[in-house]
């Protein structure tokens, strides 16, 4: 499984990755302004035409302010909530690593947006025929042996790409080589059950405006329990089918016995208002 490694300490905020992403994925340019978000950040947030955004953050370190950059994009979870949520399998986790989107399957329910812990999928709200958009880890490039466009273009090698295990080893080696610089935390190694985009930083990840509070467990655990494939639902369906039909059948038996004994009881559960069809009662 492939993964990307973003090292915030190497990033200089040139936004080459934003441009490369737009060119390779043929996304249109949009008028935007500096200071739309905090500081020089531009654009303010991920959008249907901006699949990756560098966040600009002024963070206080050792008594002085410092520019620290972060990179927003799809985290390509190992066990993605969006793919679990999608009713038509429009979002799929590939063996190669990326979570990809098949627009021809999408019905537009936006449950993926609702469920994503990293708040990544974006919708084409401005279009009458809208689709979900998000980073594909340049699936078309990497499935042909290339590297993602943003990795390719990065001038300071802040972005790495390779097997996920190798990337984790690389990240651990960097932390070990400069333990005073790096935060001892690889963001994405365990978050949401592990992701295929790993982040290193010198400051806590919430300062980079990441969703740092995402828990480390797989987030569709509960829905898997109660869903169609889960262990509970089949017992509910089977129990109801047998319980209700059994209850009704034996109520009929009881009513018939009572009838035969000559008691004029209310007839539980005989369908429809008339006595049509209750042929037995006519005979007797």
């Amino acid at each position: 499984m492939k993964a990307m490694l973003y090292d915030s300490t190497r990033c200089i905020g040139c936004r080459g990755c934003q441009i490369a992403c737009k060119s390779w994925n043929e996304q249109p340019a949009r008028p935007s302004t500096f200071f739309a978000g905090p500081g020089y950040q531009n654009p303010a947030d991920l959008a249907s035409t901006s699949w990756t955004v560098i966040t600009y953050n002024e963070v206080e370190r050792e008594g002085q302010f410092d520019w620290v950059f972060g990179k927003l994009q799809c985290m390509h979870c190992n066990s993605p909530s969006c793919a679990s949520a999608c009713p038509v399998a429009a979002l799929v986790k590939t063996d190669l690593g990326p979570v990809i989107y098949k627009p021809e399957r999408c019905i537009g329910c936006r449950y993926c947006q609702f469920s994503c812990p990293f708040i990544v999928p974006r919708y084409q709200w401005d279009r009458p025929v809208p689709f979900i958009t998000k980073c594909t880890m340049c699936y078309d490039r990497i499935s042909n042996g290339g590297v993602p466009a943003c990795v390719k273009v990065c001038p300071t090698r802040a972005m790495g790409f390779g097997d996920r295990d190798d990337m984790i080893r690389e990240a651990e080696a960097r932390i070990a080589s400069a333990p005073n610089v790096y935060l001892h935390h690889i963001f994405g190694r365990d978050e949401a059950g592990g992701t295929c985009v790993l982040h290193l930083s010198s400051v806590p990840f919430d300062k980079l405006r990441y969703q740092a509070s995402v828990p480390t467990e797989v987030l569709h655990h509960y829905t898997d329990m109660v869903g169609i494939e889960g262990p509970i639902l089949s017992w509910v369906v089977g129990g109801l089918a047998l319980g209700l039909s059994g209850f009704w059948a034996f109520a009929q038996r009881k009513a018939e016995v009572a009838h035969a004994e000559g008691a004029s009881h209310e007839t539980p559960g005989s369908p429809d208002s008339g006595t049509r069809g209750v042929r037995g009662s006519k005979k007797k």
Binding site: T55, S84, A85, P87, R105, G108, L219, T223, S245, Q252
Partner: protein, 470 residues
């Protein structure tokens, strides 16, 4: 009325030997609604009787029609305040209110057909009709809310069974079908010339829905065995009472409806099980599906009580008080079960102290629990309340209101803002109008159907009214 004669009639219809569909529809409408007067004159007469009411309804209809055009011409962004920060808004909350109110269909059918509470029979058809219309409203609302509504059928052949949304899609499809089939026999009473055809359709669809439940929700040889065993049990019951195939099929249909409702009501709550990290800890509990199911039972019962009394008041018919009172006497116990479980859940999850922190969400929580559950429960334990029309009506309205408040809390207010831009959400005018559209549809369809089809025990309400006027 054997299966053979019904199949024969289907064949006759296929050969064109039976009257055309338009003729049946005319037959359905002509007598109770129009009573022979030209349609324009009839509409005008209705208008001058209640000019303010019909003016308001007319203006709302025009505005919501405009909203539909705008939404489909310019897209979701142009017609709503939805954004990437809040991809779900008023429409979802509204849908989550419609479905548990529509729980009246399965609850009433279960009480009368399966549990044999014959005394509640006068309210079965009303319950089924309300369920059918609220579910239809759900589907219309879904068509408005989906980005690509013309693909709404795609879950039929693009399977992703891990998804709760997939489960909901199938439940809605199958259960709306079941509700229509449960309602069709009442229509058949007005259309005796195709009654057998309708019966054949109902029986065929019942079988099909049963197979689909096994295929979609069972998916194993055990499920096939369980299904066969259930059929055998039904056959045994029918044999003991000498019931014919039609009546056994109706029982099967009701059981299918109960299974699908149980799954659907609870799975709407399961939607929120995937967003634990985004929700207030007071509201997130693994038991959400159970609470959604239980509140659908109380909400459904309250819905049928309020609708029945409200309609009776509006048309001046006599209310079958013993029936309504007996449901109203049972309702507080269902509410109590729900209340006790909610409280136990809060305590067992260690949220008992957090629930009293002075925050907006805790206030919402207590408003919902006290105002929507505890107060009506206490009121319904008072004999004077359950024996008066007004008492039952207004407590039922409070229960339904509390249910809707609960769904709004869960789907909108208990969630943390999503995106880093910190954008808020407030429903736009067009969003509100499109929800009004759904309500108008359900209302108009309700009036039309109770007017033309024998839903209440004395038959189509229109018949009585036109007889009085004549």
């Amino acid at each position: 009325m054997s299966l053979a004669s019904e199949l024969k009639e289907v064949a006759q219809y296929a050969r064109g030997e039976l009257p055309k569909a338009t003729k049946w529809l005319k037959e359905l409408v002509r007598h109770p609604v129009q009573n022979g007067t030209p349609i324009a004159l009839w509409l005008w007469k209705a208008y001058i009787r209640h000019p303010i009411l019909y003016t308001v309804l007319g203006v709302l209809s025009v505005l919501s029609a405009y909203a539909v055009v705008w939404r489909f011409a310019f897209g979701l962004g142009a017609s709503s305040d939805l954004s990437d920060a809040y991809p779900w808004g008023l429409w979802i909350a509204f849908k989550l209110c419609l479905v548990p109110m529509g729980g009246c269909g399965f609850v009433m059918a279960a009480l009368v057909y399966i549990f044999g509470l014959e005394r509640l029979r006068p309210l079965v058809r009303l319950g089924v009709l309300c369920g059918m219309l609220l579910y239809s409203g759900f589907v219309i609302s879904l068509l408005i809310d989906l980005g690509l509504p013309w693909r709404i059928y795609q879950p039929i052949y693009m399977w992703q069974p891990d998804s709760i949304m997939f489960e909901i899609a199938w439940c809605v499809m199958l259960y709306l079908t079941v509700l229509i089939m449960e309602f069709l026999p009442s229509v058949a009473e007005r259309l005796p010339m195709i009654a057998q055809l309708i019966r054949a359709i109902v029986m065929g669809v019942t079988g099909l829905v049963g197979v689909m439940i096994v295929v979609v929700f069972g998916k194993s040889t055990t499920a096939v065995g369980v299904g066969c065993l259930a059929v055998l049990l039904l056959a045994y019951g029918a044999w003991r009472r000498r019931l014919d195939l039609w009546h056994a099929m109706i029982i099967a249909l009701v059981i299918e409806g109960i299974i699908l409702s149980t799954l659907h009501q609870s799975s709407l709550g399961s939607l929120f099980l995937i967003t634990k990290h985004k929700m207030e800890s007071l509201f997130f509990t693994p038991l959400i599906p159970l609470f959604y199911f239980l509140s659908a039972i109380t909400g459904g019962l309250a819905c049928v009580l309020a609708t029945g009394i409200g309609t009776s008041w509006a048309v001046g018919r006599k209310i079958e008080m013993p029936v309504y009172s007996s449901i109203a006497r049972g309702l507080p116990y269902a509410l109590a079960a729900y209340l006790v479980l909610r409280m136990m859940d809060i305590v067992l999850r260690g949220q008992a102290f957090e629930a009293f922190e002075p925050r907006v969400t805790t206030t919402l929580f207590w408003l919902e629990i006290i105002g929507g559950v505890a107060v009506p429960m206490a009121l319904l334990l008072i004999p004077d309340v359950v024996n008066s029309e007004k008492g039952i009506f207004w407590t039922s309205v409070v229960v339904v209101g509390g249910l809707c408040f609960n769904r709004f809390n869960w789907s909108l207010l208990a969630h943390h803002p999503y995106a880093i831009t910190g954008r808020g959400y407030f429903p736009s005018f067009l969003e509100i109008m499109l929800s009004v559209l759904v309500a108008l549809f359900a209302g108009f369809a309700y009036v039309f159907l109770v007017w033309t089809v024998p839903v209440f025990s004395e038959g189509p309400l229109g018949q009585k009214r036109t007889a009085q006027e004549a």
